[in-house]
Amino acid sequence: MSVDKDTVRRIAHLARIAIKEEELEPMTGELNTILAWVEQLDEVDTDGVPPMTSVVEATLRQRADEVTDGGYADRVTKNASNRNDGFFAVPKVME
């Protein structure tokens, strides 16, 4: 499978990355090189092989459903470029 410029434009939008028109052509070429290379995986017979979900053989731990941390919105929002009274602030999303 290979991608064209329109597909790259669409993927970039899905990934929320602004791409300049002149970047599309080289990016398309690079992605196609990588995609063509990973296609060698098709040579591997994986019928009936389960996909790996965890590299260590462990079941996820359970913990008591209780609050153990928090209560410091000021610290949580400290690195935001725009914050307001313990909230993250973003451009208006509704009229």
Binding site: M1, V3, T7, V8, I11, A12, H13, L14, A15, R16, I17, A18, I19, K20, M27, E30, L31, T33, I34, L35, W37, V38, E39, Q40, L41, D42, E43, V44, T46, V49, P50, P51, M52, T53, S54, V55, V56, A58, L60, R61, R63, R75, V76, T77, K78, N79, A80, S81, N82, F88, V90, P91, K92, V93
Partner: protein, 496 residues
């Protein structure tokens, strides 16, 4: 007190012993390293130096040592890869998008090191979000390898992504450093700079507070100039951490005690699939030399087969970008770091990420987004995870036939800056021998074992069974002794 210069020549272990003998103070040791850091700025190892913090920590260490309360790493100056969040100290992951981010919490691994008394020299440069094999993708500029080819001034790469870590330890401006390894990012730079680097078993060191790249592959580990130093660092870095859901709850052994030098009767696997096409003869020769060293120490070698080896890198380049595209979704201009305004919130996201991410990060996020998108998930991601099962299964089978595996660490010595710029694939091939260990979650170590025809360091890799770091370290110690690697880069970088 002896000459300050001599203090940067010490190993971590001998510096520890010197402090306890009161041969010098932690402040003296730290001052010597701070001076060395300042003189080596041309190597660009550090994103941020923290000399005031270092001296403050060293003073506290001296007080504890004086009271007879010395901790395992008290007073020992180290560097921290700038992927570990440090409370109150800027953490960038080598990216413009995180420039100015000051974490309000400490990663578990770094906290463990501070709890044991280690001294922070600063935050070390790296490939952006740890994506790279040459430390050429950092927003903060390339790191330069202290090593040069014989009779040639061409700047060489220090490997990546832990390039600031490898370069600083090799240049003797830090006693040791932390690294992270997703596809080889500790072992490959260690090999390129003639130092020791270990990726522990997945789950051994907590990922909490480490900027995430590919969560099912990322693992923190130590980099230092000797196997013993790596063992000392690992004991402090490793812990069970309830804050990391994949952290494994098993006791941390005293790794230094594992270095007995006795590997008599061990069976070491030599995987035939690692003899790749076009492998330089000097790498082949080094591998053969390693086999002979193991024989001389009383170990046996057995030929083993890991038939899916060839598919490890392509599988990695689906799995890692897929996980990265999810992990990096958090950099949206809202919660931390850079924000570039736009006409609406979508445009703000896109502009922020468009100008905040570098070319390699964009490439991988786009690949990851594509392979996870509707209609392609089964063909790419599911297939790659099935191949990953095959690779892990290969190792499980081989470890019924042998105790550990010996391979070269990299297919070449360090290359020149810019030499692989235009070809992502040839850059990716750097990790051909290391990436299998990440896909299967195994512990691996690189030991400096010889020099290339151009006078550059080459490494051998030992891979072990899950949570068998002690055996891996023991074998590494034997190789280190046999190799007697004492070559070092000529100091051309000091400002003075």
């Amino acid at each position: 007190m002896s000459d300050l210069k001599e203090l940067t020549e010490l190993t971590l272990a001998s510096a520890r012993d010197g402090l306890r003998n009161k041969d010098f103070t932690a402040v003296e040791l730290t001052e010597a390293h701070i001076t060395a850091v300042e003189e080596a700025r041309v190597l660009n190892c550090f994103v941020k130096e923290t000399p005031d913090k270092a001296l403050e920590m060293a003073k506290a260490s001296d007080e504890r040592i004086a009271k007879g309360e010395a901790r395992d790493l008290d007073g020992l100056p180290i560097g921290m890869k700038d992927l570990f969040c440090t409370d109150g100290i800027e953490t960038t992951a080598g990216s413009h998008i995180l420039e100015g981010f000051v974490p309000q919490y400490e990663s578990t691994v770094s906290q463990n090191l501070w709890n044991d008394g280690a001294v922070l020299l600063g935050k070390l440069n790296l490939d952006e979000f740890a994506m790279g094999s040459s430390n050429e993708t950092s927003f903060f500029g390339n790191v330069i390898n202290p090593w040069r080819r014989a009779g040639d001034d061409t700047p060489l790469v220090p490997g990546g992504s832990s390039g600031g870590s490898s370069s600083s330890v090799a240049a003797r401006i830090a006693l040791a450093a932390t690294g992270t390894d997703t596809g080889g990012s500790i072992r490959q730079p260690a090999a390129f700079t003639g130092i020791v680097g270990m990726k522990p078993t997945y789950g051994r060191c907590s990922r909490w507070g480490v900027v995430a790249f590919a969560s099912s592959l990322d693992q923190a580990g130590p980099m230092a100039r000797t196997v013993r130093d790596v063992a000392i660092m690992l004991k402090s870095m490793a812990s069970f951490d309830p804050k990391d859901s994949t952290s494994v709850d098993c006791a941390v052994p005293d790794y230094e005690k594992a270095l007995t030098g006795d590997i008599k009767g061990l069976k070491i696997g030599i995987p035939k699939e690692y003899r790749v096409d076009g492998m330089p003869t000097e790498i082949e020769k080094l591998w053969q030399q390693g086999i002979e060293w193991l024989h001389a120490a009383g170990a046996k070698t057995v030929d083993v087969s890991l038939p899916h080896t060839k598919y490890a890198l392509p599988a990695y380049y689906i799995v890692a970008p897929a996980e990265a595209s999810s992990n990096l979704a958090r950099y949206d201009g809202v919660k931390f770091g850079l924000r570039e305004e736009g006409d609406d919130i979508q445009a703000m996201y896109e502009n922020t990420r468009g100008s905040g991410f570098g070319a390699e990060v964009k490439r991988r996020v786009l690949i990851g987004t594509y392979v996870l998108s509707a209609g392609y998930y089964d063909a790419y991601y599911l297939k790659a995870q099935q191949v990953r099962t095959c690779i892990a299964e290969n190792f499980r089978k081989v470890f019924t036939e042998c105790d550990a595996i010996l391979t070269p660490t990299t297919p070449s010595a360090a290359f020149g800056a810019g030499e692989k710029d235009n070809d992502p694939l040839s850059m990716y091939l750097n990790d051909v021998f290391t990436v299998t260990g990440n896909l299967a979650g195994l512990p691996g170590i690189s030991i400096p074992s010889g020099l290339s025809s151009e006078g550059l360091p080459l490494g051998l890799q030992v891979l072990g069974k899950p949570f068998d770091e002690e055996q891996v370290l023991r074998i590494a110690g034997v190789i280190e002794d046999a190799a007697g690697f004492d070559a070092r880069p000529q100091n051309w970088w000091s400002a003075k």
